[in-house]
Symmetry: C2
Subunit: 422 residues, 2 copies
């Protein structure tokens, strides 16, 4: 900020006249302090005033902690993805500003005044809600992870991208505030739908892609949220402002952004996004369909290719993230030898259900080569599989829902590389 | 963003040639849709690509959700405060970008490479840690609120500022990751300190103010964190990058930013910030000292002066925040008649200890004038007092630690005003 810089310059020149003699004397008396460098003027000059940044951004030293896309991955950045810099984060919350994006026709700009949400189909009274209408229904707060079904998909094909941001960064974890979808469906009335056990809702967004998806009624009436806040504030434009669907534990494609319509139907729509896309082609060429839940998964975020060990031998903190679309993470194990032996990691703050859990292993490293892996377990007893185990079931054509164990090879110089072990 | 705008313009003109005739026909057939306005082009034009914002900011429609300072409040914005826009937030997490600031000599810019933390005084081995050293100790994740002791202080003096951002906005709530202070003190060794029950630590920052504070050893060994991440990412410059102290439940002034030194002492230092400031002058002119804990408090954030009721009669969601420096919030009551009768609010996601809890009352409003209040209770059984009750104990000179019940008068037109009832 130019204003700030010139203010600092001004203060510096003013200050030099009055006090520098005394400060210089003190330094001369004790000899130069090796810790004091040219840039360490913060203890004698003032910093930024409180009106400098009405809405703040990260400090310039953290300029590498950003979303990144991979230009060769898709034909057009309008229908593409970028990746959360999970290598550089800690704790569990993902700030909206660096939470991954996946658009099918770009992030649209939709003002609250123009926003409408229609509920139609097999309901007693079709309804159109304004944004203000939505704010009049009872709200809930929940932390949930959102993971793209294609997260780690490039690893299935053997791309071995050298960075956890790229292998596992299509995930974020935020505190959502919104209205239960159940509440809105009941407002429209489900009497007209008859027996609900075989009914569906079809949800679509206001963007050009519309990104329509079918959700079974059982899930729609369970924990789905029509959300308008994330991490306390309004959804960002790229996360569906002003309203998105939150479908806890299920693949990110169903978390429809700029939500415009919810239709109660007596059958799945079999839309593009649930037939030609977001299905899993098996070895025999047939496709697994309705693979909604994101199974238990984990990955070590540090050390990792973007976060090598730079501090030499001795104490080392290994850390990473674990999550399950089926509920809570109950345990994470870490292997240093490619899966032969395992140690149990310490879980950070007990995660919410269907939310990221942070894990740590406080250990020692003395230059040994490691094959570092993590393995998550969830409250259903499910254990994160190896790639070989997953391949046996799925064959080689599937790219979605790759939740297999990831390996980082740690070299004696502390560098980490994405490798495969079997 | 200019690039995006011109891209949109380009697409628009290209599109018009090929498809507008058909689209126009469809509109003519059905008649103009009253919901479709001039700006609603999002369903036929594409939005922003994924490389548009490597680190995102809020959408332009939310430009009012910012920190605000009050220029007349302090002589200089270098030693001043600004306020979190809590009127516009929901849930519990405060994004760093709009979390209030309080500086005594401005927000300084301190690179990780230049960062040092010294532990000295009554320790076995005085130590100086680099930033990288700190990352090698076991880390913890916790959500805590940070409230300035002066929050709501202007209300004590009867300023009656017309906005919850100004009356209660010197608070934020984030998920911190860091190393327990206990761990670092044990690393230096506390044998030299002897009996710990009467020892203190003196903590100070690297900014010009140094903002030194004494903390009793019992608290230092309990839940104090040396934190380097907030809401998953690095601390922002204005929140103490790269390292700040987190003193759960205690007044914000003790949460020293740009933490540079921790000295183990056999007595409190009686620094400026704990004698002439941050003490509470009583009716007889003596001062209460060591008033560290922030007692249970709550406030309704909507409706409030900055969030009037604009939707007319019928269903209304009343919401707000509650917190206690003594632990968890167990109950919040809401009064519509200035404290004569109370209804129990619904608590959002169960808050962590010493963290913000969101509350809701799903109710009806039909134009009645209300005197709206909230009253928090915490797990110790403490009940948030009225201003009269607090005045009886404290007199009129105290400005810090005003945790009394706040009243908003709701007028028949839905506007809200800051009033006092007794």
């Amino acid at each position: 900020m130019k204003a700030t810089l010139s203010r600092r310059a001004l203060l510096r020149s003013g200050f030099a006249t009055g006090v520098s003699a005394a400060a210089g004397a003190a330094l001369a008396q004790d000899g130069p302090d090796p810790l004091i460098t040219e840039t360490q003027d913060w203890a004698i000059y003032t910093g930024d005033p409180v009106d400098a940044t009405p809405y703040g951004l990260p400090i310039r030293f953290e300029a590498d902690v950003i979303r990144r896309n991979v230009p060769w991955l898709t034909a057009d950045p309008i229908s593409s993805i970028n990746f959360t810099p999970i290598h550089a984060l800690d704790g569990t919350i993902t700030p909206q500003g660096c939470a991954f994006e996946r658009h099918h026709s770009g992030a649209i700009e939709l003002a609250k005044e123009d926003y409408r949400l229609m509920i139609n189909g097999l309901v007693d009274t079709p309804l159109v809600f304004t944004y203000e209408d939505l704010e009049r229904f009872p709200r809930e707060n929940h932390v949930y992870f959102c993971e793209c079904a294609a997260n780690t998909g490039m690893e299935w094909a053997g791309a071995q991208l050298n960075g956890v941001q790229f292998t596992h960064g299509m995930i974020h974890n935020m505190e959502y505030t919104g209205v239960s979808l159940r509440t809105l469906l009941n407002e429209a009335g489900l009497g007209a739908a008859g027996d609900l056990s075989d009914k569906w809702v079809y949800v679509e967004g206001a963007d050009a892609s519309s990104n329509g998806r079918s959700i079974p009624m059982e899930k729609a009436l369970d924990d789905v949220l029509v959300a308008f806040k994330a991490n306390g504030e309004a959804l960002r434009k790229e996360h569906g402002y002003p309203v998105r669907l939150v479908v806890p534990g299920w693949e990110g494609n169903m978390w429809v952004k700029w939500l415009r319509r919810i239709e109660v139907t007596d059958a799945a729509v079999q839309s593009r996004e649930e037939t030609s896309k977001y299905t899993d082609v098996l070895a025999d060429g047939t496709a697994r369909k309705w693979t909604w839940v994101m199974d238990a998964k984990s990955v070590i975020t540090s050390p990792s290719p973007q976060q090598p060990i730079t501090h030499g031998n001795g104490p080392l903190v290994i850390t990473g993230l674990a999550w399950s679309g089926h509920g809570k993470i109950t345990r994470v194990d870490i292997s240093k030898d490619g899966g032969m032996t395992w140690e149990t990691a310490r879980l950070g703050r007990q995660g919410d259900t269907k939310a990221l859990t942070r894990f740590y292993l406080d250990t020692e490293w003395n230059g040994e080569p490691w094959l570092l892996q993590s393995r998550a377990m969830d409250e259903t007893g499910y254990v994160q599989p190896t790639k070989d185990e997953l391949r046996e079931v799925r064959g080689e054509n599937s790219v979605y829902h790759n939740n297999c164990i990831q390996t980082w090879a740690i070299a004696p110089d502390g560098k980490a590389e994405n490798v495969e072990v079997s």
